[in-house]
């Protein structure tokens, strides 16, 4: 409806300030992350009350460290999913990175050089994924499925399927890096915290972050507005591989050895964490904090089943249910917003 003169200038300020006619509380309640976080907190509280093993320092230490591995990659995965893609090769990138750092350190390289090799190897995986998807135009699902097989096979070839447990001169540094703790908090959690802060900032406040979400929202619009979609996609897959590479290094330090079954089926836990945390597989939605909350929930469920003495065979059923509930939640929200 047209409004003239004075009314217009006052409404300009209002227009800038207004968002969705919703107050703070209802906005929080509408966030999937909030509910998942609530579920995780509830699970923690319940477990602390009914078991005397959950709220022990030792157990909490293990839970936080274990979930950090999945959560770090879930942030990379969230980025890929937000751009409208999927990366099934992250578990393979983890083992490739682990084998590369293990083998090079065993050969006597210092840890910093070996870590660069490992991350470099992971980045090559991401680059190849990105080129095949963005430039050749193949579907991400198929490309990264092929890469899952290829990169894992490369890890077997490089290590000759032998376990590596001697890491040369910097052996202790590597174990400290992945398995140690500072102020009672395991080191992978620090890596996760830094990554979460950086990526929350990047998603909201940088052109790169904005473009990731634009591509996921409407790729042809992104192309028409002159966003370098191909380069963006390649960078997204490289970032996802980078998070997997970092995780590979930390996991080697934690386990103290490299075995070639490392990271097997990890992509499923990672995708589950991202989706439970609010990443939309159709693209255009997701956030870094959600990814870690999703990973936390999965780890708490896993841990609680062990502590409660329930067979670990049930684990998949619980995680699967949560994935479906998360997607169901999203569906309900969408139906409601259409009214």
């Amino acid at each position: 409806m047209p409004r003239e003169g004075e009314a217009m200038t006052t409404t300009l300020e209002q227009a800038i300030g207004q968002s969705q006619h919703r107050n703070f509380l209802s906005r929080i309640m509408g966030l999937q992350v909030f509910w998942v976080f609530l579920a995780a907190v509830l699970a923690c509280v319940t477990l602390s009350l009914i078991t005397d093993t959950f709220a022990t320092e030792r157990n909490l230490f293990n839970v936080t460290r274990n979930f950090a591995f999945v959560a770090i990659i879930a942030i990379g995965m969230t980025t890929v999913i937000a751009s409208g893609g999927i990366d099934l090769s992250v578990g393979a990138s983890v083992v490739l990175s682990a084998v590369v750092i293990g083998a090079t350190m065993e050969a006597g390289y210092p840890i910093w050089a070996a870590a660069l090799f490992a991350i470099g190897a992971a980045l090559v995986v991401g680059l190849v994924n990105g080129i095949l998807i963005a430039i050749v135009g193949m579907p991400p699902f198929v490309v990264t499925l092929g890469m899952l097989s290829f990169a894992r096979s490369m890890a077997l070839v490089l290590s000759n399927n032998k376990m590596i447990y001697q890491f040369g001169p910097d052996h202790e540094t590597l174990l400290w890096l992945g398995g140690g703790s500072t102020f009672g908090i395991p080191h992978p959690v620090y890596a996760l915290a830094i990554l979460t802060i950086i990526m929350s900032f990047v998603f909201k406040w940088t052109r790169w972050g904005q473009h990731v979400f634009a591509i996921g929202g409407n790729e042809s619009a992104a192309v028409l507005t002159g966003i370098p979609v191909r380069g963006m996609k390649i960078s997204v897959y490289m970032f996802s591989a980078f998070t997997a590479g970092i995780t590979g290094i930390l996991m080697v330090g934690w386990l103290g050895s490299v075995t070639t079954n490392l990271g097997t089926a990890m992509e499923l836990a990672v995708i589950a964490a991202a989706v439970i945390g609010g990443a939309n597989l159709a693209g255009g939605e997701g956030n870094a904090f959600g990814a870690i909350v999703g990973a936390l929930l999965i780890e708490v469920i896993r841990n609680s089943l062990i502590l409660l003495g329930i067979s670990t065979f049930w684990q998949g059923a619980f995680i699967g249910s949560f994935i479906i509930i998360a997607v169901g939640f999203d569906r309900i929200r969408r139906l409601r917003s259409q009214d």
Binding site: I16, Q20, F213, A214, A221, A222, T225, I227, S337
Partner: protein, 247 residues
Amino acid sequence: MAERLRLTGISKHFGAIHALNEVSLSVDEGEVLGLMGDNGAGKSTLVKIIAGNFRPSHGEISLDGEPRDFHRPKDAQNAGIEIVYQELALCDNLSAASNVYLGRELRRSFGPICVLDYKAMYRRAAELFALLKSETRPRDLVRKMSGGQRQAVAIARTLLADAKVLLMDEPTAAISVRQVAEVLELIRRLRDQGITVILISHRMPDVFAVSDRIAVLRRGQLVANKPTPDTSPEEITGLITGAIHAA
């Protein structure tokens, strides 16, 4: 008013198919031209030539009296020719302001770190929506918007680029009656800003409501180019179908 865009003897052949034949047409500053024609009459081809998607086989385009040769859509954009696509090029998951600024976001630097300047983008987007007298709010998600509001967002994008010529492809095709009125109002606002609008539409009442002149294409030929008051929907229909040969 000054002449903005002139097409002289534009032809386009795709192999043996003559999509356009010797089309000559000119549009003034602040003029709304309704471009009509049946499917396959050559409207889309003509629009794509103006927007730089195709180069004409023959003929010349001039903008503000200067001959132009567009090799790519970017060339046309740089010259001030913008297109609002039928399937609006918007990202549903982003806010109105983000869509307006997509691909040319404003940034502010804090030392080495360059961050998006949301405040400035919200402000400028709100000004543009106010200029268009649209009720669209900069922070609203495009997903929640009506067809008319989406058009406003798409049009605000082109205003940001300081467009001289705006090509609108079926802007009223898939929206409700109330929203159509909104979009037609937007077109009038653009004209008042001195922007030349070329409106491609099938909807006779809409074209008659806003256009100053109507051009009709039939089988790649320009068969009419008349001031709107001098013609009638009946005559235009006849021209489109071929019942009336030319006017």
